[in-house]
């Protein structure tokens, strides 16, 4: 599984950022994400899942499985 390797940047005032593991683009959060949160990279539109919060590490979100849903 591809993971972003660069650490995030989370100063008190700056936007929270992480690195897209697919395109190395910058992924921004407007507040601290939770583990399991899914975001979309605005540059390569990959669906990414937060797998660690400190530091923020993103990995490509798994494909939809047969038993997923509501």
């Amino acid at each position: 599984m591809k993971r972003s390797t660069k650490e995030f940047n989370m100063s008190q005032t700056a936007t929270i950022q992480a690195v897209c593991p697919e395109c190395a683009g910058e992924v921004q959060f407007d507040r601290p994400p939770l583990n399991g949160e899914v975001v979309r990279c605005s540059q390569c539109v990959s669906e990414l899942e937060v797998i660690s919060r400190e530091p923020i590490v993103l990995e490509l979100a798994p494909e939809v499985e047969e038993d997923w849903g509501e």
Binding site: G36, V38, E66, D67, W68, G69
Partner: protein, 298 residues
């Protein structure tokens, strides 16, 4: 009062709910089921919770965790029984039929040949669905016998074991929309219409949502359907049949509502959280009237 919210992925809904728990000052702990090691004989790490709110996107994880947590005597929302009933289209059909609630005609078969017979009996076009699945995945409109043969052959050859069950539903020639009613604590709180030019009117497939009036007729049938499932929080999907009126199509135990709050003007997350807190307060583990002895057979 302490509540655990189990999940497998933080969708916008889980964010709305967590924010709402925080806003209402309720002690909520998000628990990623995927990180858990459960010991069915030891409830100690769960004893401090009054109730568990299941928001798993994975049905398998829901059923696994709820089996164990209800075994610990925890009040789970929704209950294992409700989740099993809502998640399985066949179980839902059986329950609705037994309760006399209007629902599309269904035939069920387990082989290629009996599947063809079932589709013939329902008539063309028919709708073939997996008994477990969501977001309109693998739902097929079968227009004629040739299509039926092709789809059933593919399912027999390529499908999982579960897909060997042929769940065949009559096609309802509805307007280009279906209806969804959100029911919390047995009471309808909001309704939307999901519209699409595609015959699958699911927002996960690009349908758009708009708020609709909660009419008496909508409320009555949705209330009855929710009661049949025993679900505390559920979304009831309905079809408008030109001949028979409202039909309950499916039930959703872990409902998504990200597109529904703005269009209905109802803060669904807030209503749900209030209800979860009420259950935890009145029926939770630390309520002296309930579950004080721990193990409950499920």
């Amino acid at each position: 009062m302490r509540i655990a919210m189990t999940y497998t992925r933080i969708r916008p809904e889980e964010r709305f709910l967590l924010d709402e728990f925080a806003r209402q000052g309720i002690d909520i702990t998000p628990v990623d089921i995927r990180q858990q090691v459960f010991n069915p004989a030891d409830s100690s790490s769960w004893d401090s919770y009054d109730a568990v709110f299941d928001r798993s996107m994975s049905l398998t994880n829901s059923i696994t965790s709820l089996s164990i947590l209800e075994g610990f005597g925890l009040r789970c929302i929704n209950s294992l029984k409700a989740v099993e009933l809502c998640s399985d289209k066949l179980f839902t059909s059986i329950a609705l039929s037994r309760a006399g609630i209007a629902t599309p005609e269904v035939r069920v078969a387990t082989t290629y040949q009996s599947g063809l017979d079932a589709i013939d009996e329902i008539g063309y076009p028919a709708v073939l669905k997996p008994i477990v699945g969501s977001w309109g995945r693998l739902v097929s409109r079968v227009n004629d016998r040739h299509a039926a043969e092709a789809i059933l052959e593919h399912r027999e050859t390529l499908g999982s074991v579960q897909q060997k069950v042929m769940y065949v539903q009559e096609f309802i020639d509805k307007p280009d929309r279906d209806l969804r009613v959100f029911v919390v604590g047995g009471e309808p709180i909001a309704a939307i219409a999901r519209s699409s030019e595609h015959w699958v009117t699911n927002t996960a497939r690009g349908a758009t949502a708009e708020g609709v009036e909660l009419t008496d007729e909508l409320c009555d049938i949705s209330r009855q359907a929710a009661q049949v499932t025993g679900a505390d929080v559920v979304a009831v999907d309905l079809l408008e049949c030109p001949r028979r009126g409202l039909l309950v199509n499916e039930m959703n135990h872990s409902m998504e509502f990200r597109n529904s709050m703005d269009v209905t003007g109802v803060n669904i997350a807030s209503v749900v959280v209030e209800h979860i807190a009420e259950i935890a307060q009145n029926q939770g583990r630390h309520d002296s009237m309930n579950h004080s002895q721990g193990v409950v057979v499920v």
